[in-house]
């Protein structure tokens, strides 16, 4: 079903809210990963506020769609989306990474309502998604499994073990995103461990592949709509993104992978996210 312009604009506004929440909670915690959270924000927003069938009042509803943040360090974006969807109070976001809190430094399925599987050490989320997709098919549920992968974690061999398995079992209820911000912790992906030609790799593993601008809400929603119609194979959406997207001084800066803003940086970031679109930047691919 085509997605209306009204919906796209709603999602764009919602993504800005999520970005503010991310900056706020990482500032409050003085710890966390802003860069990869901001790059995945538009994808996560589209899923949680348009596509996913979940019930915040019954997080364990067996027929719900599943979400896996395989790049678990970006959990501020997930926590913000869950709180905005009503899984837990928005006020709780500032307890990120604090002792006795429910919002662990990396997602914990036993502590946080709405987290379907713990993640955080890289390379495992797609495999867990294969297991969920198999289980849901066994039960005859029409539920989907969405997995957000980092680009750096594609260095892990287990990702490709999972890719093989997903194709073998023809998991058309599994949709993966690559949050391709092109930066990993030690530098550019192309320097640390080149992953190109990335789309060819997924094609070679018998996946349906898409390549989009991961900050264009229109492209995100239209592509997910298309992927939902694919039968007989899993889909991957390679989403070109910008690490730190939305906060000009965080964009494309490795340094903002895992550090918290100080007071002055926090105020600048919040002002940028309040006042309209951030400075338009050329996308690096």
């Amino acid at each position: 079903m085509p997605v209306s312009q009204e919906t796209v604009e709603f999602l764009e506004r919602q993504a800005r809210v999520i970005r503010r929440r991310i900056i706020h909670m990482i500032y409050a915690a003085q710890s966390g990963h802003p860069g990869g959270s901001l790059s995945a924000t538009d994808i996560v927003t589209a899923l949680y506020f348009h596509f996913m069938r979940v019930d915040p009042g019954n997080p364990q509803w067996p027929q719900r769609d599943r979400f896996i943040l395989s790049k678990g360090h970006a959990c501020p974006v997930w926590y913000a989306a869950l709180a905005e969807r009503g899984f837990f109070p928005i006020d709780e976001l500032v307890t990120l990474r604090q002792i006795n809190g429910r919002l662990q430094g990396h997602p914990d399925m036993e502590k946080t309502p709405g987290v379907d599987i713990s993640t955080g050490s890289l390379g495992h989320g797609l495999s867990a998604g294969v297991g969920m997709a198999l289980g849901l098919k066994m039960d005859g549920y029409d539920a989907r499994v969405y997995v957000v992968l980092g680009d750096g974690e594609l260095n892990e061999g287990e990702i490709w073990e999972a890719a093989m398995a997903a194709a073998k079992f023809q998991l058309d209820n599994l949709i993966a995103f690559v949050d391709y911000n092109n930066l990993q912790l030690d530098g550019w992906c192309s320097d640390v461990m080149p992953i190109e030609p990335l789309r060819d790799k997924w094609r070679a593993f018998n996946w349906e592949t898409f390549e989009i601008d991961g900050h264009s809400m229109r492209q995100i929603v239209d592509t997910v709509e298309t992927a939902l119609q694919v039968r007989g194979r899993p889909s991957v959406i390679i989403a070109h993104t910008i690490k730190g997207k939305g906060v000009s001084f965080m964009e494309n800066q490795c340094d903002w992978h895992g550090r918290a803003p100080n007071k002055e940086e926090y105020e600048r970031a919040m002002a940028e996210l309040e006042d309209g679109p951030a400075v338009a930047r050329p996308i690096p691919w």
């Binding site: 495999s127 297991g131 066994m138 398995a165």
Partner: protein, 312 residues
């Protein structure tokens, strides 16, 4: 000592899985391309729609098992013990144990029982690794019948369980009627002079040593600790108080496994002179299972030497 019958415990695993498959519609089995070896092929034949062949990719297999468990399935993930506990160790620790998912890591080729295969296939550190992981239950059945019963108990136990089976045949020491409870060790022989506390295939060795010691007038108590974790503290303390001498027997390094676990219990509750039988900080090699036990000081003769040291 002559044993009437010896059977690899992995056979019992394969057979019990099929029986459980009829009872538990949500039981699923994952396999890493060694189903004839782990014996899961039996389940695959009976329940093809619940058998997932994952290929030679154990890390992925453990995480797929975790994902299946989140949808209410009871996954048994099978491979060799070296791969299940070492290659996929982080997956098991962080995403099965920490998450307390209902996955059973059911592994063949424990200890030096894949004798001829050599070190790559002999898991001799697995128990120590699994025992340090919080929330993990660790079970090593001693024989065919114990395996049938304990695999069944594991299937009905909520939470992660590590099960270790033998590749090579090991003596049948129990009857089919014997009952087992996870966490409750079994007193197999009573005696006052020394306690032989054993696990897995080494329980038969303890029984052999018991018989030989009896011939020398030494009455040994023999205990089967089939559940390494949670360990039966009460039984261990009771036997140590009675005999004041303890020898542990494990087909594993003497570090980290049963010997360490018993020493921890006794150190806290009843300090007792001990000897530990097992691999002494060394890897084994290829060779016939019984010959390896002899060469590496894990046979009945080695147990008797240890007992004599304690008796002096």
């Amino acid at each position: 000592m002559e044993w009437k019958e010896s059977i690899p415990t992995r056979y019992a695993y394969g057979e019990e899985l099929v029986a459980l498959g009829y009872e538990l519609p949500n039981l699923v089995v994952l396999e890493a391309d060694i189903s004839k070896s782990t014996q899961t092929y039996r389940f695959a034949k009976a329940f093809p729609e619940r058998f997932f062949q994952m290929g030679v990719a154990e890390s992925n297999m453990m995480m797929v098992a975790a994902g299946l468990a989140t949808t209410g399935k009871i996954p048994f993930a099978s491979t060799y013990a070296v791969f299940g506990t070492m290659r996929a160790c982080e997956q098991v620790r962080t995403f099965i144990a920490h998450t307390h998912l209902n996955v059973k890591i059911a592994c063949s080729h424990g200890g030096v029982t894949p004798g001829n295969d050599g070190v790559t296939h002999q898991a001799t550190e697995d128990l120590g690794i699994m025992r340090t992981i919080p929330r993990m239950t660790v079970i090593v059945p001693a024989d065919y019948h114990a395996t049938r019963k304990l695999v069944r108990a594991a299937a009905y136990h909520m939470g992660p369980v590590y099960l270790r089976f033998t590749r090579d045949p090991v003596p049948v020491i129990y009857s089919a009627e014997e009952e087992f409870v996870i966490g409750k060790g079994k007193l197999l022989r009573s005696g006052d002079d020394v306690s032989l506390i054993a696990i897995g295939d080494m329980v038969a060795i303890a029984l052999e040593a018991h018989e030989q010691l009896a011939g020398q007038g030494i009455r040994a108590e023999v205990i089967d600790i089939h559940t390494l974790k949670p360990i039966d503290r009460e039984l261990i303390v009771r036997t140590a108080r009675k005999t004041r001498r303890v020898v542990t027997l494990e087909d594993h390094q003497i570090h980290g496994g049963l010997g360490s676990a018993v020493a921890e219990v006794l150190g806290e509750e009843c300090p007792t002179p001990m000897r530990r039988i097992g691999l002494r900080d060394t890897f084994a090699e290829s060779g016939e299972y019984r010959l390896l036990l002899r060469k590496y000081g894990m046979d009945a003769a080695a147990v008797i030497t240890a007992v004599m040291e304690l008796m002096q």
